[in-house]
C-alpha cells in the first residue's frame, strides 16, 4: 500500500527526533562529563538539532509534493484526523507524567540544568510516542 503523506511525515519526524535530538542529548552528556557546559553551547546545540530536523521535514515536504498525482486529495481527511487525535491523547499522557516528575519532583534534588534538560527530554519522548502511535495506526489499521 502507498504510504500516506502523514505517515511519511511521522517517519521523518521520528527519525529526526532520534537522530538529531538524540545526538543533542549524547553530545550534552559527553560535554557535561568533561566539564561545565555554557548556556550558548547548549542553545547552539539545541538550535542545530532543531534546524537539522526542520531541514529534514522541509526536504520531505518537497519530495512528497513532487510525488503527488495531479488533482490528488492531500488535505487531512477523517482517518488522518482520527489517528492524529488518538496519537495526541496518548502523547499527552506521557507529557503529563513527565512534567509532573520534572516540575514537582526534580526541583527538590536536581540542578537547574538537569531540570531544563529533563524538560526537553520529556517533550522529545512525548513526540516520539506520538509518532510511534501514528505510524502503528497507519500500519496496523485504525478502528474506533
Amino acid at each position: 500500500m502507498v504510504m500516506s503523506e502523514r505517515e511519511q511525515f511521522s517517519w521523518v519526524w521520528l527519525g529526526s527526533l532520534a537522530l538529531f535530538y538524540g545526538g543533542y542529548f549524547v553530545v550534552i552528556s559527553i560535554l557535561e562529563a568533561v566539564g561545565e557546559v555554557g548556556l550558548f553551547t547548549r542553545l547552539g546545540l539545541l538550535t542545530a538539532a532543531a534546524a537539522a530536523s526542520g531541514l529534514a521535514i522541509g526536504l520531505n515536504a518537497l519530495l512528497a509534493r513532487s510525488r503527488r498525482e495531479p488533482d490528488e486529495v492531500t488535505a487531512r481527511d477523517e482517518r488522518d484526523r482520527a489517528i492524529g487525535s488518538h496519537a495526541r491523547s496518548v502523547a499527552y499522557g506521557v507529557l503529563l507524567v513527565g512534567m509532573i516528575v520534572v516540575g514537582c519532583v526534580m526541583p527538590f534534588g536536581a540542578t537547574e540544568w538537569e531540570i531544563v534538560q529533563s524538560t526537553i527530554f520529556v517533550i522529545v519522548i512525548a513526540e516520539i510516542v506520538s509518532c510511534a502511535v501514528v505510524i502503528a495506526s497507519y500500519r496496523r489499521g485504525w478502528r474506533v
Binding site: 502507498v2 504510504m3 500516506s4 486529495v73 482517518r79 489499521g141 478502528r143
Partner: protein, 70 residues
C-alpha cells in the same frame, strides 16, 4: 463463535464501475487514496457520512457496500 465484523465490497464495486481508481473515488468522497486503500483492506472503518458517500457514488444501498458479517 467469531465476532461479527464490518466488511466491504468497495474494491469490487470500483472494478465494476469502469475500473475507477482509488484516487478518483477518494476525490469524489473527499478522502485520500490511501484512506480508500485502507478501507478496502479493512484497516479503517469509515465514518457513517463517508460510508454513505461511497455507497452514493456506486448507487448502491449502504448495507450492500458495507455488509455486516455475522
Amino acid at each position: 463463535m467469531s465476532e461479527p465484523r464490518l466488511t466491504n465490497t468497495v474494491k469490487t464495486l470500483r472494478f465494476l464501475a469502469g475500473e475507477m481508481t482509488q484516487s478518483e473515488l477518494g476525490k469524489r468522497v473527499g478522502v485520500t487514496r490511501q484512506t480508500i486503500a485502507a478501507i478496502e483492506t479493512g484497516k479503517y472503518s469509515p465514518t457513517l457520512e463517508t460510508a454513505y458517500k461511497i455507497a452514493d457514488v456506486f448507487g448502491k444501498p449502504i448495507d450492500e457496500v458495507f455488509p455486516w458479517e455475522l
